[in-house]
């Protein structure tokens, strides 16, 4: 895991300084609560949740895109029934959130939130608009590269993941301490790639991004061994 996840203690990202624990984390052995996870499913989403461009009367401004991929475990097994939630800024780089002070316009036709549940092959897919880059106050002239926030509830508590997906070739990568907090060799795992199979002709470019969850979920065999 250490070759993938960022170090929590990363002072270049200023907000870490008062929030990162000072004590070393203690390894939590996998027992029952760790290898189980919430059972979600189709009831958690309604039609339209996976298309962020149809949630209002009008159509949001910006470049329409398709984003899709699979959720799998590290051994390659697909994770079906995983709840994938996304949130993002609009095409102008502004979130529909009271705390966002960026002087860019809100879009009355874009909320910026979506969710879907993976199918039997672990596949998920959203239609949205490409989010804009935006400034933040981490350091002088700081800008976030365009990104979509992802939350994934996998098969086990240990697989819970919140992360961000980026777009290929963004020149802001080199200046971003949040992406930069990830070990250099692992950063590309957060960058989607243009995928002509996901691209819809005459409609929207497609970007593909697969999500690999660490940690091991329970297998039926272990369940049996654990039984009272």
């Amino acid at each position: 895991m250490s070759d993938s996840h960022p170090s929590l203690d990363f002072p270049a990202y200023r907000a870490t300084r008062l929030r990162v624990p000072g004590r070393a984390l203690v390894r939590l052995p996998y027992r029952l609560t760790e290898v189980r996870g919430p059972l979600l499913g189709e009831g958690w989403v309604v039609e339209g949740d996976e298309d962020l461009t149809v949630q209002h009367v009008g159509v949001p401004l910006g470049e329409r895109i398709v984003v899709g991929g699979r959720v799998v475990e590290a051994d390659g097994r697909p994770v079906p029934g995983a709840l994938v939630e996304v949130w993002q800024a609009n095409a102008a780089g502004r979130y529909r959130h009271d705390g966002d002070r960026h002087r860019a316009p809100l879009d009355p036709n874009f909320s910026g939130a979506g969710r879907c549940v993976t199918d039997s092959e672990g596949r998920w897919r959203f239609v949205t608009v490409r989010p804009g880059a935006y400034p933040w106050r981490n350091h002088a002239n700081a800008w976030r590269p365009a990104h979509i926030h992802f939350s994934v509830l996998g098969r086990a508590f240990v697989q819970r993941l919140i992360t961000q997906m980026y777009f290929p070739g963004d020149p802001l990568f080199a200046f971003d301490p949040i992406l930069g907090s990830v070990p250099e060799g692992a950063r590309e795992r957060l960058v989607s790639r243009l995928d002509m199979d996901l691209t819809m002709p005459e409609w929207a470019l497609g970007y593909r991004w697969d999500i690999v969850l660490g940690g091991r979920a329970a297998t039926p065999l272990e369940d049996e061994e654990d039984d009272r």
Partner: protein, 186 residues
């Protein structure tokens, strides 16, 4: 085959756009037998409230079963999901309404005392923090719990046990500093 794991990133300050469910804090409905309100405050290393954290809880049901499809131990009785989710407010406070889970057999032998697993996400946290909540009226079970037993400092161990407050329970989360909550790597 081992695929490289997708790295985590911070939840950032604007997760309220997408992650807050109206019934997220209600693991069980008000009036459920044994329902208890578990509240707490998240504070930073300066003792200031953290108003932009997301707290998630995960647990077994009162019979020690999970809402999980696999295995002969069976799934939880219908309706119990076991997952709670609450964003902190301006004062850093969060609350979930839940029930005390049952004890669980530990794979290495022995019994785990009733507990909730807790994930904390926030701006400034590049990954989640994981801790556990134990129950103050389970002194005997807590004394036999393998995880609690592995923590040698009794003052640190005590920080994993909620405090009875009125009709409910309180579990404050100190991200950093002298009273820092014990956090776990998983």
């Amino acid at each position: 085959m081992t695929l490289p794991v997708t790295p985590s990133q911070t939840i950032g300050p604007f997760f309220g756009v997408g992650l807050c469910w109206p019934d997220g804090p209600e693991v069980v409905a008000e009036g459920t037998k044994g329902a208890v309100l578990l509240t707490g405050r998240v504070t930073d290393g300066a003792g200031e409230p953290v108003p932009d954290a997301l707290v998630e809880t995960w647990q077994a049901d009162p019979a020690g079963r999970f809402a999980h499809p696999e295995g002969p131990r069976g799934s939880s009785t219908s309706g119990f999901g076991g997952l709670g989710r609450c964003a902190t407010d301006a004062a850093g406070c969060w609350a979930v309404r839940t029930v005390k889970p049952g004890p669980l057999p530990a794979p290495e032998g022995g019994v785990e005392a009733p507990h909730l697993e807790v994930s904390v996400f926030a701006r400034g946290l590049l990954g989640r923090l994981v801790t556990r909540v134990y129950f103050p009226d389970e002194a005997e079970a807590n004394a036999a719990d393998p995880l609690l037993a592995s923590i040698t400092d009794p003052a640190v161990r005590a920080r994993l046990v909620a405090v009875a407050e009125g009709d409910g329970l309180r579990f404050d989360i100190h991200l950093q500093g002298e009273r820092e909550t014990p956090f776990f790597a998983i």
